[in-house]
């Protein structure tokens, strides 16, 4: 299967959105495009399984590439492993749901859908890149449209938030670039430098160089995934963004960072990852627990979910920092799980906000009476967030805990216990939010005449919930999918530690 389809398809959709006239056509084109992405991704999954059952043991399947700029050794080179496929599936789910919940956008629909689809192009490109330059290129594509999405369609202090988000993410990109450049100039393939991920991994980078450039790449990607203390763009960015942008931002953008930390920082610089693991673990634990406590005090639903994202993304970094097979598996599961769950959460919040025009926990109340469907969606997202078995969050967190506990030292033990403790704090803030906004007496009588979800919202929520439950109830297929990918990474680490 030609992976470039994943880039071409959103591109065609985006262009078609620009060309068609009329609101209705724009919506339909966007929806068809997103649906086609979803179908394509399932085909990809199918072909992947087919290849694997045939016994293909290559690290990356479906590779293809073109020379882009020869003098600098820049290639367009793509390929996937199980981890990338998991992330690609996540992207397709979130984008499809995002188009659905934006169905009744009030202004500038054409531009909005164009940017949304364009973002997905960046994300797909990022997840399939096997060339560091291409990877960086797509990372940038996935950053810039977000500024516009928040600045134009946002709410609240949107200009400030948009600026803050763009600057911090660009700062992250700059660090990433330094890290990548550092790698590039320390390769030597027949006398020339290379950006090729596979070649760099094969060749290895001297440990001294790794130690210099690992922090750049890791912090750079870490900013995307809310690494403490560089997480402050998350609350402002999310709370100002329109629903679909929030979904994309938390569901996918933050995972670009996690994926980058894993694929670039840990895979290409395993020695440094091992060297810096203590610091990573400490920062991750701070993010997990401190993020959870900060969430407890928030009063705006979007802030609650944004801070809880900081806490949940801490698990991704913790899993990566622990550098055991199980923990890294947990990190990957958490990426997908959190992506689906947080998208569902933001979708639910968006649906509530569209109707009540309020996101303040104190003003809402008793929504279960008027909007049982939306309320149930909200409760499910909450339960997934607090790690209830049967939902994906549980599988992810438990895998991270198990993986972290495998390390015998007291330091790792304490870190695991700190991370475990967050399940209690999470329960507190989730139940607070659910208890006072969904349950309880109706506080505002104007809300009594509000209606429940429309077909588009129901479909979007159902899709995301299916994803969450598919991992939560039957996690074995998912671990099977990602296992070869994480094996490759952990093998590199194991070689170094020896």
């Amino acid at each position: 299967m030609d992976l470039s389809l994943l880039i071409i398809l959103p591109l065609i959709t985006a262009l078609a959105i620009l060309l068609v006239k009329g609101l209705k056509q724009v919506r339909i084109v966007a929806l068809l495009g997103a649906a086609a992405q979803l179908i394509l991704c399932f085909f990809l999954l199918y072909f992947y399984y087919q290849e694997r059952t045939k016994g293909s043991a290559a690290d990356f399947l479906f590779q293809s590439g073109y020379i882009w700029y020869e003098p600098l050794g820049i290639n367009y080179h793509v390929g996937v492993d199980g981890i990338s496929i998991a992330m690609i599936l996540l992207t397709a789910f979130v984008v499809f749901a995002g188009v659905l919940v934006s169905w009744k956008m009030e202004k500038m629909n054409k531009e909005f859908f164009f940017l949304l689809i364009f973002l997905s192009l960046g994300a797909y490109g990022f997840f399939i890149s096997l060339d560091l330059f291409t990877l960086f290129f797509f990372l940038e594509i996935a950053v810039i449209p977000k500024f516009l999405l928040i600045g134009i369609w946002g709410s609240g202090k949107k200009e400030y938030s948009a600026m803050k988000l763009a600057l911090m993410l660009m700062g992250g990109s700059a660090l990433v670039f330094v890290g990548l450049a550092g790698l590039y100039f320390n390769t030597n393939v027949n006398g020339a430098h290379t950006f090729s991920l596979i070649q760099i991994a094969h060749q290895g980078i001297p440990l001294g160089v790794q130690k210099v450039f690992f922090p750049f790449a890791f912090i750079g990607f870490g900013i995307f995934t809310a690494l403490f203390p560089f997480h402050t763009w998350v609350p402002d960015g999310h709370s100002s963004a329109p629903t679909a942008a929030s979904m994309f931002l938390a569901g996918i953008s933050m995972k670009l960072g996690g994926y980058g930390c894993l694929r670039v920082a840990a895979y290409l610089m395993p020695g440094a990852a091992h060297y810096y693991s203590t610091i990573i673990i400490i920062l991750a634990c701070i993010a997990i627990l401190y993020g959870a406590f900060a969430t407890m005090m928030q009063t705006d639903l979007k802030y609650i979910n944004a801070y809880s994202s900081v806490s949940h993304c801490g698990f991704i970094l913790l899993g990566i920092g622990m550098l055991t097979k199980t923990a890294i598996n947990g990190a990957v599961i958490q990426m997908v799980s959190h992506g689906l769950m947080t998208a569902l959460f933001f979708a639910g919040i968006g649906m509530i906000y569209d109707r009540t025009h309020s996101r303040q926990v104190a003003q809402l109340g008793g929504l279960m009476k008027m909007m049982p469907f939306i309320s149930t969606v909200f409760v499910i997202a909450g339960l997934c967030s607090l790690g209830l078995p049967g939902f994906s969050g549980f599988v992810a967190e438990m895998t991270v805990f198990m993986g972290s506990w495998e390390k015998g030292d007291l330091f790792y033990r304490l870190a695991t216990i700190v991370a475990c403790a967050s399940i209690v704090v999470t329960a507190v803030y989730i139940l607070r939010a659910v208890g006072s906004s969904i349950m309880g007496p109706v506080k505002n009588n104007d809300y009594l005449k509000l209606g429940d979800a429309g077909w588009n919202e129901r479909l979007a929520a159902a899709l995301l919930i299916i994803g969450i439950i598919a991992i939560g109830v039957a996690p074995f297929w998912f671990t099977d999918l990602i296992n070869p990918g994480t094996d490759t990474i952990i093998q590199k680490v194991a070689d170094v530690i020896k």
């Binding site: 407890m296 008793g366 078995p389 007291l410 475990c420 208890g435 039957a474």
Partner: protein, 637 residues
């Protein structure tokens, strides 16, 4: 045993289809209960003993999630005496509650939701009971917790119900944190999560795992003890043991049949079940058993005292539940593994078994009363024996059973517990004996206050008027009668024959001489309650006035709620949460904004251009990157 496995799977399959209405729900549960009974029958009587002991069979095993080569979650079904017994108890009580609810919940707006939640609960509870894997237990443990949360908060527009459901979930979640870490410890050293393998490896003398877990220690305590105590904390949370009991009385905000099912008969004994399941490991460490005994005893005693002072009938029952579970816990704590020493184990599970019947009967009886009176307060009741004869008689039977009067069920199980305590530790026995007297007192205080005391106003005066519907529907009376009958006969089962610590039959006999003291004390309690509460009088006030501060302290539940409130509100919210949020907004974010401001300042100094447009920033950004690339290209080498 594959047959039994198949049977239970069938039962699962049925449960997965959500029950959308009362009849369907009840019908499905009837099937489940029949299947459970059949399974138990097959297990105990057809397959029977192997080498004089009931075998522990793992019927189904499927790898659900594998963490590493060694540790994985294998979903399975374990059949041994205790799980077979629990299957029967859970399905049977659940069936009774389903039937009762047909009448009790009639006309509720969310009737179907109610039955769906009940179905979810029963499914999770059965899953918990048959778990073959420690982690599987944890999974269902959480599911049970959430179904309890949903059912307590069933009246979601009532703020007190919402608060209670939240409290129940969070307190048990806190305990589950202990459970989780305990699992991590046991799994790490045992290198498995499977119950049978785990127990076999760790109890086996000098196996590498047992050496590892007993030599590793933290803060002077072995890893084994740590693991078991932490697991016990999880059990104590679910079973409302002191000091994690505070959620149980509040949980009475849920519909009464739910209280009968979840907060009396099934979920709250999960902690006892968990300790019993891991009992062979607990016997390896006296420290862990000592903690179990201590916590159980304190809970039994404290709850009995509090129960004497409460006025809400459901809260009295809640504290009584806590007290009885305390009995089960310390019975496990004083038990040994083999032969006669294992009496406590048998007694504990026997009490669990009989308690399930009489306590759910009490709750359903209370439910019938509340259905009629529309109040939980004792002061609104009195003289009800005329209007609800069936409820009256069955309630009396249950009270006699819990007070330990022969020949009702509670007598036999409680005597065994007391005997086990007597054999092991005289102080434990003394406190337990005194508590059993208290039990009789508070139960009959309840009984006389509801059904006797004042003749009470006539139905018309109570406002029942024309719509007086008597005791409730047939579906409400039937479970009362069935449970009443069970309460009378359940004690006669030779329980030790089937359930014992080492799975070998244990002859349990009650010595009449030994029984004199407890029964006499129980009778004294009953007479005291009769003297104080049978007729309207000022005696209760006099007594409480005489006790003064002591009464008030007990009435305020020893101020434990206030202590919790202080810790959570004052310390956690104000000293951790609020500063964390503030620091984040002002210091961390301030730092980031500061960096941005400094950068902006510098750039405006240098360039004098600050358009505020991100496009131009992007331009600079790419410009910078190109510059950086050039620097790298030419200067790095």
């Amino acid at each position: 045993m594959p047959l039994a496995g198949f049977v239970i799977l069938g039962l699962f399959g049925r449960k997965y289809f959500k029950n959308f209405s009362g009849i369907i729900g009840t019908g499905l549960l009837l099937v489940s209960a029949a299947l459970a009974l059949y399974t138990a029958y097959q297990y105990f009587f057809v397959n029977g003993k192997v080498d004089g002991a009931y075998p522990s069979v793992t019927a189904v095993k499927y790898t659900w999630l594998s963490f590493s080569e060694k540790v994985s979650i294998d979903m399975g079904i374990i059949l041994d005496p205790i799980s077979a017994m629990m299957l029967v108890v859970v399905t049977f009580v659940s069936l009774m509650v389903h039937i009762f609810s047909l009448g009790y919940m009639k006309g509720e707006e969310r009737f179907a939701t109610y039955y769906a939640f009940l179905g979810l609960f029963t499914f999770s509870m059965l899953g918990l009971v048959i778990s073959a894997n420690l982690f599987q237990t944890y999974i269902f443990w959480e599911l049970v917790g959430v179904s309890s949360y949903l059912l307590i908060g069933y009246y979601y527009d009532k703020p007190s119900a919402v608060a209670a459901s939240k409290k129940a979930f969070i307190v048990t979640r806190f305990a589950d944190l202990g459970f989780l870490i305990g699992i991590l410890i046991l799994a790490f050293y045992g290198e498995t999560l499977d119950f049978n393998t785990l127990i076999q490896r760790l109890t086996e003398h000098q196996s590498s795992q047992s050496i590892a877990i007993t030599t590793a220690s933290f803060a002077g305590v072995t890893a084994l003890t740590w693991g078991l105590v932490l697991v016990f904390i999880g059990g104590a949370g679910k079973s409302a043991m002191f000091p994690l009991h505070i959620w149980l009385p509040d949980a009475m905000e849920g519909p009464t049949p739910v209280s009968a099912l979840i907060h009396a008969a099934t979920m709250v004994v999960a902690g006892v079940y968990l300790v019993a399941r891991l009992f062979p490991l607990f016997t390896l460490t006296q420290a862990a058993l000592g903690i179990v005994t201590f916590v159980g005893l304190i809970s039994a005693f404290l709850a009995a005292i509090i129960a004497c002072t409460q006025t809400d009938i459901k809260r009295v029952l809640a504290y009584s539940t806590m007290s009885q579970i305390g009995y089960m816990m310390f019975a496990l704590g004083v038990s040994g593994y083999n032969g006669e020493a294992g009496l406590g184990y048998t007694a504990s599970l026997f009490h669990l078994f009989t308690h399930a019947f009489f306590k759910s009967l009490l709750f359903l009886g209370a439910g019938a009363v509340i259905h009629l009176i529309h109040s939980n307060e004792m002061k609104d009741m009195g003289g009800l024996r005329k209007y609800m004869p069936i409820t009256h008689i069955t309630f009396l039977v249950a009270c006699l059973a819990i007070a330990g009067i022969p020949p009702f069920a509670g007598f036999f199980s409680k005597e065994e517990i007391l005997l086990a305590a007597f054999n092991s530790n005289k102080i434990v026995y003394g406190i337990a004996l005194f508590t059993s007297g208290l039990t009789a007192f508070y139960m009959f205080r309840l009984y006389f206050s509801i059904f006797w005391r004042a003749a009470g106003p006539s139905p018309l005066e109570r406002g029942w008027g024309e719509v007086f519907h008597g005791e409730g529907t047939f579906s409400m009376k039937l479970p009362l009668v069935i449970l009443g009958a069970c309460t009378i006969v359940a004690g006669l089962i030779p329980f030790g024959e089937y359930v014992s610590a080492n799975s070998k039959p244990l002859a349990s006999h009650v010595d009449p001489v030994f029984s004199i003291a407890p029964v006499a004390l129980a009778l004294a309690g009953i007479l005291l309650a009769m003297w104080m509460y049978k007729k309207e009088s000022s005696r209760p006030q006099q007594v409480s006035a005489a006790l003064g501060g002591l009464y008030k302290t007990a009435y305020r539940k020893f101020y434990i709620d206030e202590i919790y409130l202080f810790v959570t509100k004052k310390i956690i919210f104000n000293l951790i949460g609020r500063p964390a949020a503030w620091i984040d907004r002002n210091i961390v974010d301030g730092l980031m904004n500061g960096i941005a401001a400094v950068t902006a300042g510098i750039s405006s100094l240098i360039k004098g251009i600050q358009s505020g447009k991100v496009q131009s920033y992007a331009l600079y950004f790419f410009g910078g990157i190109i510059a950086l690339a050039i620097i790298f290209l030419y200067l790095w080498k």
